[in-house]
């Protein structure tokens, strides 16, 4: 399938003024300010197909928001090219923004002093949404987001969760082809987060919109995105399936066993000496085996252990995606994962 979004060697530099120290430095600054170039995004390239929902993640200052701002036409890149559906966001801003929806979690696009419904009516006019489409979209939002409950309240009186629901609806009321979400769950409580994620799943499936999602909450990514792009210091570190990231050879599963009788770790190690397993013990009854899916299986370990011991309970845990990502930020990619880099 032809891509909807093409980002080709996108680079964005910011010029910063660096202050000198002391009174003398301050005076020198007045006459000859010292400028420093900060490269926020460094030759980033990727493509996204229609209907994909991609997680775009990275630590603070990694270049996520800058990329989103270029993709939404707010910023002009220093070099490189961005095309979305044949349009260049920062050159054909008015034409382009008709086709996209944007949610910045930290800001609202609703008119602060007005009732929510006034904002929606204005958006209808801005995007020229026909009345019947408008009504069916609003019915969809009422059903999934429950925004009909506070349509007549001023935006400033909404809770953060209510406001976010309204902002999501506002970003989709004109049925955009692409939806950009920058931290859509920031500051929300667990229930509100679940609501937002549930809604995004339904929106993706029902409306067929292409979504790029940046977030610090990897729970969002796990529940919504098959594909992730990890960016760090302005460069793409990883672009591939979330599943591959987790199942990569560097990442180990944990099989925890509760045994009926006390057993030493050495005894378990002996029982599984033909397998690449590492044992960790938590008391005489509880032991956990760490292993890589590429090297062995939980079944193999279990069969060795059960041959000699009685099992009371067991649990198999995947590596937390947080741990995987944290490790990538810290150490870069494990060998084996590099194959996924484009």
């Amino acid at each position: 399938m032809a891509p909807l979004i093409t980002v080709d060697r996108l680079t964005k530099d910011y010029r910063l003024t660096v202050r000198r120290e002391g009174v003398k430095g301050g005076i020198v600054d007045l006459v000859r300010p010292r400028k420093r170039i900060l490269r926020a995004v460094d030759e980033v390239s990727f493509t996204i197909d229609p209907g994909e929902m991609v997680g775009y993640i990275g630590a603070n200052g990694a270049g996520k928001s800058t990329t989103i701002k270029v993709l939404t036409g707010i910023l002009t890149p220093t070099s490189g090219e961005v095309r979305v559906g044949g349009l260049v966001p920062y050159r054909q801003r008015q034409s382009y923004t008709r086709h996209i929806g944007v949610v910045f979690g930290q800001r609202t696009q609703l008119w602060w002093d007005l009732a929510v419904v006034e904002s929606f009516r204005l958006l209808q006019r801005i995007f020229e949404v026909p009345e019947d489409r408008y009504r069916s979209q609003m019915a969809f939002f009422a059903e999934l987001l429950g925004i009909d409950e506070f349509l007549n309240q001023p935006v400033r009186k909404l809770s953060l969760g209510q406001r976010m629901r309204c902002d999501l609806a506002a970003a989709l009321v004109h049925e955009p082809r692409v939806l950009f979400l920058d931290e859509p769950t920031i500051g929300l409580d667990v229930v509100a987060k679940e609501n937002v994620r549930g809604f995004l799943r339904r929106a993706r499936d029902t409306l067929g919109v292409t979504v790029i999602l940046t977030t610090h909450d990897l729970g969002d990514i796990e529940q919504l995105c098959r594909r992730v792009i990890i960016i760090d210091h302005g460069k793409v570190l990883y672009d591939g399936l979330l599943e591959d990231l987790r199942r990569g050879p560097g990442h180990r599963l944990r099989l925890c066993l509760d045994l009926a009788e006390p057993v030493t770790a050495a005894a378990l190690a002996a029982a599984t000496r033909d397998l690449p397993v590492q044992w960790e013990s938590d008391g005489a009854h509880r032991h956990c085996a760490l292993f890589s899916r590429a090297e062995t299986t939980a079944a193999a370990i279990l069969s060795r252990v059960l041959a000699a011991h009685r099992l009371r309970d067991m649990a198999l845990t995947e590596p937390a995606i947080e741990d995987v990502v944290r490790r990538i930020y810290r150490e870069g990619l494990q060998p084996g994962q590099e194959a996924n880099l484009e």
């Binding site: 701002k69 002009t76 044949g86």
Partner: protein, 285 residues
């Protein structure tokens, strides 16, 4: 398969006007919600006019009586008091905080929320200002007139037709003021701290617009300077029209110069905006 293409999209001109009028309407509603804030303004504007009126009464009283009555800078005392009252009434209508609001939006990065919408931000700003001006006219300027006009026994212009020309001139003044404020607000893209600039502009404007004192009180070179700047179009020009001191070709050229400034400054704002948006970093990246 060929690339999925988003259709280029343009709003029809009629739809554009309807949309932008929608912004004017919403601004009107917004200010209506905050109307209580303006009741105190009626009092303070009345105090400004009163203070200035007494100042000029004292000034005129200090001059020796001549055959044709006292006249300073070409003004009689009733004319002077009318000048003060009408210029403050006009100011109550055209004043706005576009510069402050825009600068705030730029500094806080909120302007991003406007840039992601298919409309022209400068035009939206202008129509919002028009909505605010509509609100001011009805719920601020009108109450001030109801208080000030009988209080100082302010007479009408020498000819009834001048009501219309004065109104037109004040409208042009309001447009000029909006464009100036927009330009100053845009400077926030380049300056870290814009508050000082905004304050300096406000003071300069009241002086160079002729709200405080008519230019004929000043030396010739100040008058020449003022004539070459857009600021006199905010207050001095419309009030002089009201007083009947601009007639015939003078009246026409005064209005044309105002219109020229309004258009010129709008284009300057367009240019500055386009440049600033392309080249400048927004906060919160």
């Amino acid at each position: 398969m060929s690339e999925l293409v988003l259709a280029p999209w343009r709003r029809a001109p009629g739809a554009s006007l309807r949309l932008y009028l929608g912004f004017a309407r919403l601004a009107f509603l917004k200010y209506l919600a905050y109307r209580l804030r303006y009741y105190t303004g009626v009092v303070s504007y009345t105090i400004f006019v009163t203070g200035n009126a007494y100042l000029f009464r004292a000034l005129f009283a200090s001059r020796p009586e001549t055959a044709g009555g006292v006249e300073i800078g070409g003004f009689t005392l009733p004319e002077m008091i009318t000048y003060i009252a009408v210029s403050w009434i006009g100011r109550s209508f055209m004043f706005n905080n576009i510069d402050r609001t825009l600068a705030h939006q730029i500094q806080q990065g909120e302007i991003a929320m406007q840039l992601i919408k298919p409309f022209h931000v400068q035009t939206v700003t202008m129509f919002e200002a028009a909505g605010e001006a509509g609100f001011r006219l009805l719920l601020f300027t009108l109450p001030i007139m109801i208080v000030v006009v009988p209080l100082f026994d302010i007479g009408g212009p020498p000819r009834a037709a001048l009501y219309g020309w004065t109104l037109l001139s004040f409208l042009l003044g309001m447009v000029i003021n909006c464009q100036l404020n927009f330009l100053v607000g845009c400077l926030a893209f380049y300056l870290k701290n814009i508050d000082g600039v905004i304050r300096a502009k406000a003071i300069t404007l009241d002086f160079l617009a002729g709200v405080l004192v008519p230019f004929s009180f000043f030396p010739g070179w100040v008058q020449t300077l003022a004539a070459w700047l857009p600021f006199q179009g905010l207050s001095y020009v419309p009030v002089m029209i009201y007083l009947g001191k601009r007639a015939g070709p003078d009246l026409a050229s005064a209005l044309l110069v105002q219109a020229a400034w309004a258009i010129g400054l709008f284009l300057a704002g367009r240019l500055l905006w386009a440049r600033a948006v392309r080249s400048v970093t927004l906060q919160g990246g």
